[in-house]
Amino acid sequence: MQEKLKEINKQAAMNASMALSKLINRPVGIEIPRAEVKRVEELRPLLGLGEIVAGIYLPVTGDIKGAALLVIPKESAFTMSDLLVKRKPGTTRKLTELDESALKEVGNIISGNYLTILSNILQVKVIEHLPSFSFDMFGAIVSQIIVEFARKVDKALVIELEFVFKPEILKGYFILLFEVEQFKALIGSLGEA
C-alpha cells in the first residue's frame, strides 16, 4: 500500500500546488507529511471536537461512494483567507461570503486533484459533487458526514496537509470516507490485504 499511496500523494500534491499557485498568482507548495487509514472513532483526536474549523465537504459517487472533507483549523482558515483574497496578513477575523467561496475553491482543488489521481492509478470511476461549506465545530461537521452514511462507513483515509505559503505553513486534513465494502476494495487495490 505504501508505494501506491505515496505515488498518489506525490502526484496529487504536485498538481494541487500548481492549481492553487495559479489561482492566487504566487507559489504555494502543498505537502503531505502523512497519510493513514483510521477507524472513524479515531478521527476525534485529530482536533478537539469543539474546535472551530472550516469544513469543505464534497459528496463522492461513481464506483466508490462516500465523502471527501477538507478541514482547516480556524486560525489557518483566517490566514489562508488573507492570502486567497489578498488582504493584509492578520486582517481576517471573520469569514465573508468571498472567503467561503475561496476556501471552497481550495477544497475543489485538493479534492479534484486527489480523486483524479486516485481514480487513474486505481482504475475506478469517481465523480465528485459541488462543495458545501461549514465554519463550525470539528465534531459537529465530521459527525454529520459519518451519520449520513449511517453504519456503512467505518474507516477513513486521513491525509495530513501542509500548505506552504512562504513564510507561512498552514496545516489541514483531507479526509476520505467511503462505504465499507468499497473502502476494503480500495485498500485492496492499494496493495494491503
Binding site: 471536537l49 465537504y57 461549506f133 463550525d136 465545530m137 459537529a140 461537521i141 459527525s143 459519518i146 451519520v147
Partner: protein
C-alpha cells in the same frame, strides 16, 4: 467531575457529576433528570430509529437482520428505552423524569439533509409515548453545539460558535 459522552454512548450519573458532549451536529443529545433523586442520564444518539434508517435505505441488505441489537444506543428509540432502564434501576421515578433535547442541526444546509430534523421529531414522539416530560430544547438550525449537564441540579448549558 466531567464525563464526556461520545456518539452512540449512554452514561448515567448521580450526585455531583457532570455529563458533557462536544461538537454535536445532526446528532441529538437526550438528557433525563430526576431532580428529586439527583440522578441523570445522557444519550448521544446519531439516528432516529433503526427502522427509519438502515433498513429503509437498504431494504435488501441482509446485514439488517444480523446487526440488530435492541439496546443499540446509537438510535433515539432504543437509547430512550435503555436510558429509562438504567435510570430507573438507580431509583429514578418515571413520573419525576424531566427530559431535554440538544442538537439536531444540519451543518450543511445546502445539502438538505433531514437527519437532524428526523432525530428531533422522532425523539419528541417517543418521549410523549413513554410518558416523559420534555422540559427544554435547544435544537435545529445549522450550528454545532457543545453542552454540559449538571446532574444534581438538572441544569443544561449549551455553547454555540457565536
Amino acid at each position: 467531575m466531567d464525563r464526556e459522552v461520545h456518539m452512540g454512548e449512554i452514561e448515567v450519573a448521580k450526585d455531583d457529576e457532570n455529563l458533557v458532549a462536544s461538537g454535536i451536529g445532526s446528532c441529538l443529545v437526550i438528557t433525563f433528570c430526576d431532580p428529586k433523586q439527583k440522578i441523570g442520564a445522557l444519550a448521544h444518539t446519531m439516528l432516529p430509529a433503526r427502522r427509519m434508517s438502515f433498513e429503509v435505505r437498504n431494504p435488501k441488505d441482509e446485514r439488517r437482520k444480523t446487526n440488530y441489537k435492541s439496546s443499540d444506543t446509537r438510535y433515539a428509540d432504543t437509547a430512550i428505552d435503555e436510558m429509562l432502564k438504567r435510570i430507573e434501576a438507580l431509583g429514578a421515578k418515571r413520573e419525576n423524569i424531566e427530559a431535554k433535547l440538544i442538537g439536531g442541526a444540519n451543518m450543511f444546509p445546502a445539502l438538505k439533509s433531514d437527519i437532524g430534523e428526523d432525530n428531533i421529531s422522532y425523539a419528541r414522539e417517543k418521549l410523549k409515548s413513554a410518558g416523559i416530560k420534555l422540559v427544554g430544547e435547544c435544537v435545529g438550525g445549522s450550528q454545532g453545539r457543545s453542552m454540559e449537564f449538571f446532574v444534581p441540579s438538572g441544569i443544561v448549558t449549551v455553547k454555540m460558535k457565536f
